[in-house]
Amino acid sequence: MNLLEVRDLAVDFRIDEATRLRAVKGVSFDVPVRSTVALVGESGSGKSVTALSVMGLLPKENATVDTHSRILYRGRNLLELAQRDMQALRGRELAMIFQEPMSSLNPVFTVGFQIGEVLRRHVGLSGRSVRNRTIELLREVGITDPERRLDVYPFQLSGGQQQRVMIAMAIACEPKLLIADEPTTALDVTVQRQIMDLIAGLQQRHEMAMLFITHDLALVSEIADHVVVMRDGEVREQAPASQLFRDPRDAYTRALLACRPPRDRRPQRLPVIDDFLGSGRHASIQDPTPERKRGLRGDEATLLEAKGLAKSFHFREGLLRKRELQAVKGASFRIAKGKTLGVVGESGSGKTTVALLVARLHEASAGEVRFEGRDLLGIEGRAAMPYKRRIQIVFQNPYASLNPRFTVGQILTEPLQIHGVGAHDAERRAMAAELLAKVGLPPESLEKYPHEFSGGQRQRIAIARALTLKPELLICDESVSALDVSVQAQLLNLLQDLQDEYAMSYLFISHDLAVVRYMADEVMVMKDGEVVEIAGPDELYAHPKHPYTRLLLSAIPGRAQ
């Protein structure tokens, strides 16, 4: 029996007076009772809009649902329901968990009050019974010492605990259908693992149906009974999970599965979407591409060596006291010429701080960074400029790392100007155009502004900017993490091609262990500002020595497969 039936759902968004954008184009699927259905797709696929339509939470000002669309919940069309009835249904029978627990909880109310509000409104509890039931719920979502946690504010909890609170609010009224929109995307892998276990357990115990929305196919393989793959507002394929992973029918599904770096092999280049959807090139994928060799032989020249690198931040507390936060505590590592050092770790492990210290964007508190034998941290002022240009960095967020008021041409010629490369502007522009071609963008892009590009294209521009100065060390700080998997594969291929061509060294930082395994010749694991383990990728992934490394590896989704 189906709890929810979505039929021909189409949603339009108004961009301005003249333009409308069809975000969802006739989507149909079912959610059977007590089962988990996963909506999978990349950004812009319409998966979140679909979920919001079911909840009746689309913004009324600019979103319209097509009149032929039907969303049947136990046979009632939710789209025709009156506002009051819908509100009653929401929270009692339908509940939703959002991606960002921090912004989904109201920062000025205590956790206990916010859960209690749901109980008072929808269940009609009052007085002591609210408190008792809240404690019960917090215990059920795995929050230790729930009596004390009742009176804390959201900011006093970690991201994982906040998401647990959100889940407690969602299940407070024992909903029949739980919609989870990327509930673990903002969380670290080990926390993601815990939350996934919690959600799966709750679903079983409360016999809920669940609509699970994510971009991560590996995650889906663990939890879903049925998978719906979406792209550009359309359903590309829907099938039982077991069948979809064994025998994907649609080319796009196959591409999504293939463009993640595989766990057991290391192909020369990763397949990208175009290989599957494009014409004719499909055949090349089937050939087993030659394996790429990783790891160090031990006789490579050292480009950069860090010894006892440390950074502390000081916070004022009260009037006189200062609190010290040690972001990096004595990290020592070495980067070989033309090779890649991968850095993995969870948020707060100090991996980004290490990158900023090496690039000299932050001043180190202690330690030394030897670049070709010279201590970089000792060089002051303008004497550091020649070294600065040899170490470049590509940041995580391509939306924030390009100055929105500069054209791409200005962005790319600025470093050349500052360092006096090229005789005149025309020559610099020619160099910029050449670099653009190298990262796969047309020369017309020089005249455009960053907001006219997609995330992947912007990251290409950021890479081109770093390349203008012909660096010997390129630091990639989560450079592909914010991008869709298909775009991620393209950029990883680009980075690899550039390394092959220019023999650059990479300091490759990521929380994504599969990507690091694919890219790195040596992997450094960080936790709480300390380096816990450094080893070759195959060695580290096969025989992790440190317990934390083992914990990290066991948390990678989809290992059960």
Binding site: L356, K388, R389, I393, F395, A400, S401, L402, P404, R405
Partner: protein, 335 residues
């Protein structure tokens, strides 16, 4: 083909705002008026006494001047003045009166003027045009000065942090701790001489504090953004990061503050002049017109007050609406 930049998009959004666009036209009209007045095409002879004293507006006709009760009251007051004592200044006054009438003897004085005349028979219409020039120049120049100071101080404090930030915050606290009018009057008293430049300096040197606070906050926010770090990584100097990279990204805040302060300073000039700290007697501004209007109103001569008020209210309202529309258009929600 050049793509629409950030400013191009802002202009597109602005044009769609009908109220804002109308306000822009009003503001531009005033600007044209000021330019014409400054170039001497309009109202150059505002100081000539073209009409009779308190000449009424033409649309009321000449009778409006001698409202009977007032004339009677004036007559009744006459005998009280003498008590048979000879006026020691009578001879001098007669001479002055003679020379004055002699000077204007060439042209007969008009009984009415388009929008009325003041005590000396000067044309209110010309006065208000010339006054617009003074007020708008004072407002604009003072706002530019204040915005410049606020932006530079704010940029330095926010970007440099540390001791520089402490210093400017101290300066800010000192300036804001003193009641505004008291501060203005103190600066006016120190500078001493009256004049347009003085008013500009008074308003500019005291008015930068609000802009400083906002710009400093913007710089604090922007200096840790990745694009600024990226500029650091390619070797851009601190000054370059401050003014080439960050400034264009906070320019919408600066621009909106600039136009808000134009409005504020136009009003402040009026208040200052009204209080006697404003422009000198040889210059006309809305403030000096309103200062005169107080005593005129007692005599029932309402036109100078009305004209100056309407002119000021129209510009201030249009400028405020224009500022609002500009803020909406510039809000960089662009990704």
């Amino acid at each position: 083909m050049r793509q629409a930049g950030v400013w191009g998009l802002a202009w597109k959004r602005f044009r769609r705002d009908r109220l804002g666009f109308t306000s822009l036209i009003v503001v531009l009209f005033y600007a044209a008026l000021v330019l014409a007045a400054a170039a001497g095409w309009l109202a150059r002879d505002w100081n000539t006494e073209a009409g009779v004293s308190f000449a009424p507006p033409s649309f009321l006709g000449p009778e409006a001047a001698d409202s009977p009760q007032l004339a009677k009251a004036a007559e009744g007051a006459q005998p009280v003045a003498d008590y048979g004592i000879p006026d020691p200044l009578a001879a001098d006054l007669a001479e002055i009166a003679k020379s004055m009438t002699g000077g204007a003897a060439g042209q007969s004085r008009a009984p009415t003027l388009p929008l009325g005349g003041d005590k000396w028979g000067r044309d209110v219409l010309k006065k208000v045009v010339k006054g617009t020039e003074t007020s708008l120049v004072v407002g604009l120049a003072a706002a530019v000065l204040a915005t410049f100071l606020g932006t530079v101080f704010g940029a330095l404090a926010g970007f440099r942090g540390g001791a520089v930030d402490d210093f400017f915050n101290w300066l800010y606290s000192v300036f804001t701790a003193i009641p505004y009018l008291l501060l203005v009057l103190a600066v006016a008293a120190v500078i001493g001489q009256k004049g347009v430049l003085t008013v500009i300096l008074i308003l500019g040197l005291t008015g930068w504090t609000g802009i400083f606070r906002l710009v400093r906050a913007e710089y604090l926010k922007h200096k840790v953004r990745e694009y600024v770090l990226a500029a650091d990584a390619i070797g851009a100097s601190p000054a370059r990061r401050m003014f080439v990279h960050i400034l264009p990204n906070v320019s919408h805040v600066v621009l909106v503050q600039l136009s808000l302060h134009v409005v504020l300073f136009i009003k402040s000039e009026v208040i200052l002049t009204f209080l006697g700290f404003g422009v000198g007697v040889d210059t006309v501004s809305w403030g000096s017109m309103l200062a005169e209007a107080g005593s005129e109103l007692l005599l029932g001569k309402w036109w100078q007050l009305t004209v100056a008020t309407v002119a000021m209210a129209l510009l201030v309202t249009a400028f405020s609406l224009f500022t609002d529309a500009m803020r909406d258009a510039l809000d960089p929600r662009l990704k």
